[in-house]
């Protein structure tokens, strides 16, 4: 694992729709791609006992998360013969309605791109050491618990 190139997936703050548009545009020169699949995680304003979530504060054990992601990336790119895969996860306080996760897979045919994207989302939720603290409007908080798929 140590001799693999480790790509950073973390971005400070929310992932902007314009950034996503730019990443899509960067693939128009790759004319062997036939399909892109994208998953975006957006912070929900859930209500818990009459209080509304206004933001999620994300932290990570970053060194470990990036190492784990190297293995996930390699395995999935090979399994689905992807042209490429890009993953971005926010750190810090992301407000409701903002995007905190961006997974982007590209392949010659749609089935591979779609299945690779879905599998990447499941694996990173299960395997990357990242924690979300849900912040309510009165500044109280609770630790997020991921639902199984």
């Amino acid at each position: 694992m140590m001799n693999q190139k480790i790509k950073n997936i973390f971005v400070k703050g929310a992932i902007s729709p314009a950034f996503i548009g730019e990443k899509i545009a960067a693939h128009q020169s790759k004319t062997d791609i036939g399909g892109h699949s994208i998953f975006l995680g957006q912070v929900r304003a859930d209500a818990v006992e009459n209080k509304q979530v206004v933001a999620v504060d994300y932290t990570s054990y970053e060194v470990m998360a990036l190492e784990q992601m190297v293995g996930i990336r390699e395995m999935i790119i090979e399994k689905y013969s992807l042209n490429c895969m890009h993953v971005y996860h926010s750190l810090g306080r992301i407000r409701s309605g903002e995007i905190c996760l961006f997974v982007f897979t590209s392949a010659p045919h749609r089935k591979a791109a779609i299945e690779a994207c879905s599998e990447t989302v499941e694996r990173l939720k299960a395997e990357l050491p990242i924690w979300g603290k849900e912040i309510f409007e009165d500044d109280s908080f609770q630790w997020k618990i991921n639902q199984p798929a």
Binding site: H89, L124, K125, P129, W143
Partner: protein, 76 residues
């Protein structure tokens, strides 16, 4: 052996520290020491990462290894 462990997420918030020195020879001993120091969080589920890999069974700790206690993940 004195070992340094990193704490994350709810474990960091509840203990109020991001690092801790504990005396342990293996990962089970480490968990026992940690529970003795913070009895209130004994019931919190947590994983041990040894050199950035989760260990599922009791594992001896060697000098210089990176140790971390991790609550269940909730990224994405």
């Amino acid at each position: 052996m004195a070992v340094k462990i990193q704490l994350y997420g709810k474990l960091k918030q509840v203990t109020g520290v991001s690092e801790l020195i504990l005396d342990a020879e293996d990962t089970d001993g480490l968990l026992k020491e940690f529970a003795a120091r913070f009895p209130l969080i004994e019931n919190l589920p947590c994983l041990i990462a040894l050199d950035r890999t989760i260990v599922q069974t009791n594992t001896p700790i060697k000098a210089g290894q990176e140790l971390a206690l991790l609550p269940p993940y909730s990224g994405g």
